[in-house]
Every structure is written in C-alpha cells, then in structure tokens.
C-alpha cells in the first residue's frame, strides 16, 4: 500500500510517503496504525495521539474501523487547519 503523511505526522515520521507491505493481520485502519507504531520510535511518536489522526483512503475520509487493502493510497494527517 502507498502511505502518505502530512503536517506533524510527516515531520515526526521524517518522510512524506512510502510503499509498505503490511502483514496479513492488518485488516483495518486501526490495525494499520497499531502496526505502523511498531516500526520505530519516530512512528510511535507520530501516532501517539492516535485518536486525533485523520485518515483518507484514495482521497476519501474514513473512520478508523474502515478496511484497508494492499492497493490503497492511505493518507494519515492531523485535523485540517486551512482557510
């Protein structure tokens, strides 16, 4: 899956995007966030405020119980602050 990070999720993780192959047990956004947090201290720090992180799959907002698929583009970011 293609992962995109924005704002402080991006600056904490230290990269804007990456291609990752998640293990089979990762079936939902929540599972994905749990797994990502194990990839290193920078991921754990970025995902520390888990409940505030917004998720978009293929440009659509989804909740944390939404399923994830290997060919998804999944973006993780803080609440938006434009306008």
């Amino acid at each position: 899956m293609k992962l995109l990070y924005f704002a402080w999720v991006r600056t904490n993780i230290g990269k804007a995007e990456e291609e990752l192959v998640a293990p089979d047990h990762v079936q939902t956004v929540e599972g994905l966030l749990d797994w990502l947090a194990t990839l290193g201290p920078q991921y754990a720090a970025a995902l520390d405020r888990r409940n505030v992180i917004k998720v978009a799959i293929n440009h659509e907002y989804v909740e944390h119980d939404h399923p994830v698929r290997p060919d998804d583009e999944i973006a993780l970011f803080p609440p938006v602050t434009g306008g």
Binding site: L4, A75, T81, G82
Partner: protein, 149 residues
C-alpha cells in the same frame, strides 16, 4: 470553480469575472482569509500552507456541489493558496453569486465553514520561538456543525 495555487490572486479581477456577462445575478458575496500577525504567540513572521494534492481538489469540488444543492447559485469560486505566506497575504477567496443576496451570503459562509474542517490543508507557523503546526480549533468544528443536516 476550484483553484489551488501558490500564486496570489487579485480580488477585483476574480469577482468581476464571476459576474461578467450574467445580468441575472442580483448579489455577490465574498470572503477573503488573510494571514494574521499573532503577537500573543510570539509574533507570527510567516506561515507555510501544506496540502494534499488530488484530495484537496476533490474535497473542494464536493463542498461546492453541496453548496449548489442547498442554494440556487449562479457562480461559485474557491481559490486557496499553498506555500509560504506572510502576515497580510491572502490565503483564500470564497465567492458566490445568486439572484438574491440571502443565497449568496449564506452559501459563502457555509463554504468557508466547511472548507476549514474538510479541505486537507495544514498551517505551519513561523514565530520568534521557531515553527509550530497550527492546532485545529473546536470553534471551527462548531461553525461547521451548525450547517449539518
């Protein structure tokens, strides 16, 4: 019409274009968002707006479509800038035209309220003490909430 751009825009030119050649329009409402100098947070010297290309345009188009479904509008224009901006710089222009003022005024307010909570933009402020990501405000959520159906 949706435009996401780095460049500045001219308010007069944009508003004139929105009504040009359409004498059925009775009212035009507009909102312009500017970079504020926030002295209480150590004086913001600049900010950088980041966005999610692709998703931004889709979400803004969706917000425009929602406004058009609620009010009888002729024109809708949303211009949102990204990149580095300084105090006084224009960030966003929202403008709507309609036969009557109420539709134009209400839909303009709706568009900026929904944009602030749904369009994927983030502000990084530069101040005297370094940089900080702007936190989302509950007051913005409440402003958007009042338009929920």
């Amino acid at each position: 019409m949706i435009r996401v751009q780095r460049e500045d825009f001219d308010i007069g030119t944009e508003l004139a274009l929105l009504t040009e050649g359409n004498s059925k329009i009775g009212g035009l409402a507009s909102f312009v968002g500017l970079v504020r100098d926030l002295a209480d947070q150590g004086a913001v010297s600049a900010m950088t707006l980041e966005h999610y290309p692709g998703m931004t345009e889709k979400r803004l188009a969706e917000i425009e479509a929602e406004a058009r479904s609620r009010w009888p509008l002729d024109g809708v224009l949303i211009i949102h800038r990204y990149g580095r901006l300084e105090p006084g710089d224009r960030i966003v222009l929202v403008a709507t035209t309609s036969a009557h003022r109420q539709a134009a005024l209400e839909s303009c307010a709706f568009l900026i309220d929904w944009l602030k909570t749904k369009a994927p933009f983030w502000k990084l402020e530069e101040g005297a003490k370094g940089t900080a990501w702007v936190e989302a405000k509950e007051s913005d959520d409440r402003a958007a909430e009042k338009w929920k159906r």
